[in-house]
């Protein structure tokens, strides 16, 4: 087990976002967090990475309690791709190299540069390495920030709506890359998503959030019309196309 969450609770002043969250994630597993806007999907990811401090509960990564790790140690285990990222003025290589920050002492080593180069190659970005970020398309930019998280050599990837604002081709490309890396390197990924069909294509497990609770969690068996309708208040049917379930709003 790569991640274990026990009794996690977060609240803003005067408002509980979620409480009593318990779940685990295994190596090689992709977990999709689903739910309506404002239900606390992004907040949950930030609590798993100590960007936000939970009110209660513990989070273990590979048996290490994250509150006892230094920020640098945590960054060596968890790669985080924020929903919003600043388009800084630097080259693709520099932007990805920044992911080595948790390992850099005084200056970048040859190894840091080689790992950056290797990840750029995996994500087919190496021809862009000296291009500036503001010259890239949305899809290319998303791949750059995922590459930055990957050079952290994490055990766990946290991706906050990585496919929002991308066209269909780029959505598929980005989720396929993440899936390939998760399976190939036997790490884990937790991804917040809105597109249920994309989630079905991508994830091994699903977790529906509703009213600050885990409404349903599990494999494809939780992707039922009742669960989807209850969470999103939209009636749906689940069709099958080539043995893959497809969520169709009515």
């Amino acid at each position: 087990m790569i991640l274990s969450v026990q009794g996690l609770e977060f609240r803003y002043p005067g408002r509980a976002v979620f409480q009593d969250f318990d779940f685990t994630v295994e190596r090689g597993e992709c977990l999709a967090i689903l739910g309506t806007n404002g239900v606390g999907k992004s907040t949950l990811l930030k609590c798993l990475n100590r960007i936000l401090k939970p009110r209660a509960g513990v989070v273990y990564i590979e048996k290490a309690e994250i509150s006892k790790l230094s920020r640098t140690e945590l960054a060596q285990r968890v790669g985080y791709v924020a929903q919003k990222h600043e388009n800084i003025r630097c080259t693709v290589f520099d932007a990805v190299l920044l992911g080595r920050k948790p390992y850099i002492k005084w200056d970048v080593s040859r190894r840091d540069q080689e790992i950056t180069n290797r990840v750029l190659k995996i994500l087919e970005l190496e021809d862009y390495s000296l291009r500036y970020l503001d010259e890239l398309s949305g899809g290319e930019l998303q791949k750059v920030v995922i590459a930055r998280a990957l050079v952290q050599e994490p055990d766990l990837l946290l991706l906050d709506e990585p496919t929002s604002n991308l066209d269909l081709k780029n959505q598929l490309e980005v989720i396929n890359i993440v899936k390939k890396v998760v399976k190939g390197q036997q790490i884990a990924a937790i991804v917040t998503m809105h597109d249920l069909n994309l989630a079905i294509r991508f994830a091994d497990k699903f977790m529906f959030l509703k009213n600050g609770n885990i409404f349903a969690a599990g494999g494809l068996e939780v992707m039922t019309p009742e669960n989807v309708e209850s969470v999103y208040a939209v009636p749906v049917t689940i069709e099958r196309w080539r043995d893959v379930p497809v969520v169709v709003p009515q």
């Binding site: 930030k46 990475n49 100590r50 960007i51 230094s70 920020r71 640098t72 140690e73 945590l74 960054a75 060596q76 968890v78 790669g79 985080y80 791709v81 924020a82 919003k84 990222h85 600043e86 800084i88 003025r89 630097c90 080259t91 290589f93 520099d94 932007a95 920044l98 992911g99 920050k101 948790p102 850099i104 200056d107 040859r110 190894r111 540069q113 080689e114 790992i115 180069n117 290797r118 990840v119 750029l120 190659k121 190496e126 390495s129 000296l130 500036y132 920030v145 930055r148 998280a149 990957l150 050079v151 952290q152 050599e153 994490p154 055990d155 946290l158 390197q185 036997q186 790490i187």
Partner: protein, 361 residues
């Protein structure tokens, strides 16, 4: 995680990247050389007729007794003060722009300069440290410069502490810091007006003279104090350069990369304020360098703080040295206020680079 093996991809790629960063190092090297040349020219310019060779010989201890006295006691402290204060103000602006996530941030954003000016007003008007002497070549003299400097420095530090205490309640968010800075700045401006309202004409003249900013006020003592402070500050900033790069990518991304954002901001603002306070207290108000120095270099060398920090420091030194040469030579023997010249030099250069856009490679 199965660690990514450190095997080289296409060997050419890394070499291309190293060539790219090498070009930035060359720019910094050329700027250092230019600073040294300009420093010699700055020492050379003035009333006494010297040539650059004599200047270099005097610096190396091989000059004649008269040139030695002029260079070592008058011109060298002035030029060193220019290099150090220019580098300090510019590098402080560079870090403030990053920490506050605001391209218009500069050492004056947090009201440190206003606080120092308030201190100088208090020293000159309330403690009677300044007056007018009509027989002197300088109409206005500050009787007791140390009281002025100490009071100015003290109020700068008080202002810094107030801003940091206020910003602490909002976890050192850039908005909280800028708003606290604006409030403090306005508070000290009001204080200056009130003190000046009750002052005599001669005292107001002395205060205005102080605020002009003048490198000639620095003796070796001030140069050494400023040199140590600015030197330590640059080392600190260089140690934090990866944190600043991460902060440029957004607060959440920086936290995800292991950066303690609040602590980085607190340190950056504290050290920037300290060197600003020292420069302003010793030399008076020298504006625009903290804004324009880093902005020029951001366009020339890019936003990577590994290169931007030293390049900003050198650009600040270059602007202040060039301004001081102009201030002393445009209408000799009258020495113009260097602060006005920095703006005259910096503003058109800044506008030119802005119009030209970012340099691509």
């Amino acid at each position: 995680m199965k660690k990514v093996a450190a095997t080289p991809g296409r060997p050419g790629r890394l070499e291309i990247y190293q060539h790219y960063t090498g070009k930035k190092k060359v720019i910094i090297l050329l700027m250092s050389l230019l600073t040294a040349i300009l420093a010699v020219l700055a020492i050379n310019s003035g009333g006494m007729d010297l040539n650059p060779f004599q200047v270099v010989m005097a610096i190396l201890g091989q000059g004649n007794p008269v040139s030695d006295v002029v260079i070592w006691n008058i011109r060298l402290p002035r030029v060193m003060a220019g290099v150090i204060a220019g580098a300090g103000l510019s590098v402080a602006g560079c870090v403030m722009q990053n920490n506050l996530r605001n391209p218009l941030a500069s050492p004056s954003t947090l009201g440190i300069s206003n606080a120092a000016a308030f201190g100088a007003n208090m020293a000159i008007i309330v403690f009677g440290a300044g007056s007018i002497q009509s027989a002197s070549t300088d109409a206005v003299i500050i009787n007791n410069p140390y009281i002025v400097t100490i009071t100015a420095f003290m109020w700068s530090i008080i202002a810094t502490m107030i801003i940091i205490l206020l910003a602490r309640f909002r976890d050192f968010s850039p908005e909280a810091m800028i708003l606290a800075g604006v409030a403090i700045s306005s508070l000290f401006s009001a204080g200056i007006i009130l003190i000046q309202y009750f002052a005599q004409d001669t005292q107001i003249a002395a205060v205005v003279f102080w605020t002009f900013g003048d490198l000639g006020r620095a003796s070796w003592r001030e140069v050494i104090i400023m040199g140590i402070l600015v030197g330590l500050a640059i080392i600190y900033f260089m140690l934090m350069r990866w944190d600043y790069n991460a902060l440029d990518s957004g607060e959440e991304t920086a936290k995800g990369l292991g950066v303690n954002v609040a602590r980085v901001r607190l340190g950056g603002m504290l050290v920037s304020s300290l060197i600003t306070a020292a420069a302003v207290s010793f030399l008076g108000i020298i504006g625009f360098i903290g804004l324009v120095g880093p902005q020029i270099m951001r366009r020339v060398i890019g936003g990577d703080h590994r290169f931007l920090i030293p390049a900003s420091a050198l650009m600040g030194a270059l602007i202040l040295l060039a301004s001081d040469i102009m201030a002393r030579t445009i209408i000799t023997p009258i020495v113009l206020p260097v602060g006005a010249i920095t703006s005259f030099l910096g503003a058109p250069l800044f506008l030119y680079l802005l119009a030209r856009g970012y340099k691509r490679r």
